[in-house]
Amino acid sequence: MIAELGHYMLVLALGLAVLQAVFPMIGAARQDGRMMMIGQPAAYGQFIFSLAAFASLTYSYIVSDFSVAVVARNSHSLKPMLYKISGVWGNHEGSLLFWVVFLALFGALVAYFGRGLPKSLRARVLSVQAMVGVGFYLFMLITSNPFERLPNVPFEGNGLNPLLQDPGLAFHPPFLYLGYVGLSVVFSFAIAALIEGRVDPAWARWVRPWTLLAWVFLTTGIVLGSWWAYYELGWGGWWGWDPVENASFMPWLVATALLHSAIVVEKRDTLKSWTILLAIIAFSFSLLGTFIVRSGIITSVHAFATDPERGLFILMFLALVIGGSFLLFALRSDKLQAGGLFAPISRESGLVINNLFLSVAAAVVLYGTLHPLLSDALFGVKSSVGAPFFNLVFGFLMIPLVMIMGLGVHFKWKRADIKGISQRLKAITGLSLLAALMTLYVTYGGDIMPVVWMGIGIWLLLSMLQELSSRVKLGQVPLKDSLSRLKRQPRSSWGMSLGHLGFAIGLIGIVATSSWSLEQQKVMRIGESMTIGDYTLRLDDVIAVAGPNYSAVRGIITVTGKDGASFMAHPESRTYISSPMTTTEGAVETTMAGDLFIVIGDAQTSGRWGVRVYYKPMQVWLWIGSTIMVIGGLFSLSDRRYRIGSPQGKKAAGKKNTRSAAHAI
């Protein structure tokens, strides 16, 4: 009964989405206020109905109603409650439902917070948002109905893939989806602006918070996924350039570019067509990501159950959305007037180069991801493109990007004084060279690139710190004045500083952990020892333990460091009851200098255990750096000028028809 109700709610939501797609668009074209007004209540209703559908599915999971096909396939009555709930989105049908709930949520948020928007713009944004929604509702109802019943009700469910029974993965997909779907709002704004034929700083001010929000969610989602892979898969890997990973990374790269180009539109009223194009590309990548993950068309280690037929539907949808929006762009982009001029060396130019490298990097990742598909389709050659390709190409493209990042923050708008800046950066450049030389000395005989990268990473970190200290005039005015200046910095500058500092810290971590990791494996009997780096491990015992829905063997290992201090590590290998599957629960000892990561497994020969140990230098810097980036994004998002109902916002809305008014703010 509840499942049928959910199905019905979904159909109602589709109906409202159709209304929301059709009438506001016609109303905006005819300047018919009443028709435009339909968008708002339709958006609220659509959200409520899709949420009700989601609640019904969640209910079916909670009570373990195995007559519902997806519940029977993906749940188990013995599963802990958290994973019963996270199981709702841990599969194809449920994750799609999750998608549309977020899509409807963002539509409702635009309807609510967009009260200050020009009426026709808001109507068009809501309409485009609903069009995307209609595609997804149809997709779900036609190919993957989450409320399908089974003719024969099984006694017990199949259980969720044990690898997914983890807090990291319970929250990884929701954040990623919020990021993907957040970009749909930006896309809707871009399409609406193309139809309106007008992009101005006010438009950028409305779009930027949505981009920021999507970016924050996307970053969080990617980092959670990476963190989960790191500690759960037991291979010490946190990024493998797998197609599914790339699928989330490409929209991130474009969203990052968009974040920067929208600033130029907002502050300098230029780069408009480019920004619109980026908004379209960013959302296209989100759809492409969904297609790659869901169709199983490209071999990925992360692929769970996939279905090529569904892939075909998404591919058609993708072609329609991307083709349609590019066509619209080609027809309408000349309507957008070019704005302010800038010199070749200026903050604008810095941001243009940032955009250039980010988009080329995204294109390269796209090519590497699709190459196996192309070579199979064109030449019938089955192949895969490995991590070395991405590391080399992406790594090379990142060098100029990071350099321009470190320089660009010192640039002024319109025209920058390159001589003065290079003068100011002399000291930190010297320090970074010194750091690179020290790295060379410590790692002598190893690769040269990690040394170069370490120097660049430290230079970037110092450059960001110097920018912050010059902004508060540290050393030029009394310390107390500097501190009070620091306090008065607007939230968006804090966001910029934190975002870039976090990036620098994360970069240093990435360089260290991917260049100087150690790995050891040994088949051990109880009482035997092994060494890795400065650590000695002794396998004291292996005991059996029972969990709620698994049984496990737990290694009791004494680890002794160089200084003689020792600690215990308890890695586990779990076997789940509902599916004959083993997962590793590594024991991780984290310090700022590096992680010691211990994994135990059955060696397939009796009385012996396979122990794998990794030493990952500065791994935690990556997690700290990315967390700081996210915090930076949140700071920026809370900046005054984006605040809802602030006087500025109302003023912008009141004088919506005059471009000069938008300039004045």
């Binding site: 893939n161 690898l163 898969l233 037991g234 291979w235 199983g296 068309i297 490209i298 071999t299 280690v301 992360h302 692929a303 769970f304 159950a305 070019a338 001029l341 800038f342 070749p344 243009v352 180069i353 250039l356 490298f357 080329v360 294109a363 390269v364 090519y367 590497g368 190459h371 050659v381 089955k382 192949s383 895969s384 493109v385 490995g386 070395p388 390709f389 080399l392 190409v393 090379f396 493209l397 494996q521 040994k522 088949v523 051990m524 035997e528 092994m530 290998s573 599916s579 004959p580 599957m581 083993t582 997962t583 590793t584 497994g601 060696a603 397939q604 020969t605 012996r608 396979g610 794998r612």
Partner: protein, 163 residues
């Protein structure tokens, strides 16, 4: 020149700078892609293709197929585990040797993809056995290969008049 004309001229100039920079960056990227691609593409072969194509020892590639039932054995020497198993596509088989601990989801009768090269004696020496996340998941290449070989077997079987 009028102010407007001046502005338009500057805009044109800016556009040219932008175009040139973009082309330079794009050119750099294409060059990088082409040079990196050569070394990092791993071709995928199933056991039949290995038998047919006569792949040179030492050439790296990916091997995929099913782990043949009752073919797996592991031996430990000096703390290092040496795994031996056979990969089949239902038509040809290849012996595989891998030193180290296998991923959790490695099972006889299930699909596997391994990276490595042939040695001189017709044995595939794997440097990596790729992990997967789902016990039911079968890499697309392996499915394609099995389908292809399965078809081949069926036609062969009908010729022989055996089920």
């Amino acid at each position: 020149m009028t102010k407007k004309g001046l502005k338009a001229g500057a805009r044109k100039k800016r556009r040219m700078y932008l175009l040139l920079t973009s082309l330079a960056v794009l050119g750099l990227a294409v060059m990088l892609v082409l040079s990196a691609l050569e070394d990092s593409i791993r071709l995928f072969y199933d056991p039949t293709e290995i038998a047919e194509k006569g792949i040179k020892p030492g050439q790296n590639f990916r091997l995929g197929g099913l782990v043949e039932n009752d073919s797996f054995e592991a031996q430990e020497t000096g703390g290092i585990l040496v795994n031996k198993f056979t990969v089949t596509d239902g038509n040809e088989t290849v012996a595989v040797i891998y030193e180290g601990l296998l991923p959790d989801l490695f099972r006889e009768g299930q699909g596997v993809v391994a990276e490595g090269a042939m040695n001189g004696t017709g044995v595939f020496v794997a440097t990596e056995v790729l992990a997967k996340h789902d016990e039911n998941y079968m890499p697309k290449e392996v499915i394609d290969s099995l389908k292809k070989r399965g078809e081949w077997q069926r036609t062969e079987a009908s010729k022989d008049d055996t089920p």
